[in-house]
Symmetry: C2
Subunit: 304 residues, 2 copies
Amino acid sequence: MQHSATTGQAFYEALAEHGLIVPVGVPGAFGRGAVFEDVLRRFDAAVSRVAKEDGAERMLFPPILDRNVFEKSEFLDSFPQLAGSVHSFVGNDEQHRELRERVRQGKAWGDLQSMTGVVLSPAACYPVYPSFTGIVPEQGRLVDMQNWVFRHEPSPEPTRMQAFRVREFVRVGTANVVVCWRDMWLDRGLSLMRSLGLAAHAIAATDPFFGRGGRMLAASQRDQELKFEVVVPVLSEEAPTAVCSFNYHQEHFGKAFSIRTFDGAIAHTACLGFGMERVVMALFKTHGFQPREWPEAVRRRLWP
Amino acid sequence: MQHSATTGQAFYEALAEHGLIVPVGVPGAFGRGAVFEDVLRRFDAAVSRVAKEDGAERMLFPPILDRNVFEKSEFLDSFPQLAGSVHSFVGNDEQHRELRERVRQGKAWGDLQSMTGVVLSPAACYPVYPSFTGIVPEQGRLVDMQNWVFRHEPSPEPTRMQAFRVREFVRVGTANVVVCWRDMWLDRGLSLMRSLGLAAHAIAATDPFFGRGGRMLAASQRDQELKFEVVVPVLSEEAPTAVCSFNYHQEHFGKAFSIRTFDGAIAHTACLGFGMERVVMALFKTHGFQPREWPEAVRRRLWP
């Protein structure tokens, strides 16, 4: 992002002043106020109306993910810096005394915690892949979810959160089915954003791969057009914010979770997710902090 | 719980067979299906109707909590075994290679993670207390939330989850205001459950305090009547399941977060939370797996 942190901070403070978010002591973990949530629910319903005829299976997963699934996903190969693992205390009375003492004295206590069988979901689609294992029907499968996602990237900029909700659709089937579906949603996503008065456009995008090898991975991802984003100016025109992300995984999850198409080939998957809080923030930034003063056309779309 | 694990397992399998939950590889982290979520939303709306005239401030917090708030709350003194802290990778390229290698070989990698500034919310009310710091208005404050909670207690029994949602109300003010409010909701909670055809009753309860000192703490909590639960038979009549929990904290959070009443005294707080998934499971267990076949009076309450 090229905008300055000051701009992000100012927007954060404006959201807080209007009661849209509830500040907490750490960045990217603020509460959401009543009006913020109302707009989020209304946008969620607008997405449902767009997707109504698709016959998706609806699911919802908790914010935690089976650690085995996470390890199989190879997320740690590409984005170790963003993941969050869940650790717990499994000690005895004596170790508990040590833990209490450390906390009381403000000393580090992470080494008194042990890794558990779960991590935080690093992406909204990850929990669903193991349930596709086996042979998917001829027309493939389509799942519609709204899950919490964790990213370890504390920032004062309100659109960059440590925890946020994604309305996520996942398609599994042949390469052709999956890519056509992705392309259809790219159009739908753009239309939906524009119908809400947001100056959206689509871009080929890359993920923030870790380390020295990361640049190469990003270049390859861009060359193969595996990732697109619908972006909207929120804090700046030059560095617009991604509000919807489209990922074509090819055979990645099909291989990892033994998912096959009816003809025995490894299934392809793609997903797309609306960053729910980001869409809401884009609406407030574009149309002002009072929804009742938003343009009539936007209100009709959200309060139909 | 006195019922056998088999009973819990059988109920879990029945929920899965009917598509109400989506099994995953670890206990207590399953997905929720469309019908499950529909019932949950309808119960949530029923709670809103009961609370309509109370004028609560609505908020929603993410599943993560500021670690400083968590440390101040003294949760680790009482329930270290239930808490989950969030750890992340903050290493360099070389440490990343080590991390990848360990994951690939199925070796432990928890020691390559560092504790972050957040933990998982151990109770739905914790994120809100810091926002009360200062002097609360004469009539106190009332907040209404729906937050995800984490408890490190993996179990095959479906009502004992590692992650679940709580519709939580928090009251802050004088002791008298807070206790009267808690008593009013104890009646409301019982009535609401009974109106849904659930054989609910209220009991004085205790928390699962850790270690050797735990029994004494529990006895003191019971003597002072600080915790009540509305319980409903789900897996057995003898060991009914808590579906709503009422906690009177006295000055605990008022002291920890410097919350005062208008007359300068330390504020008292109480909270009550509906275990959303548990209520939904109680409905399925009591009335069967097909909501359209539920008793007319129950349906009228949820599909008004």
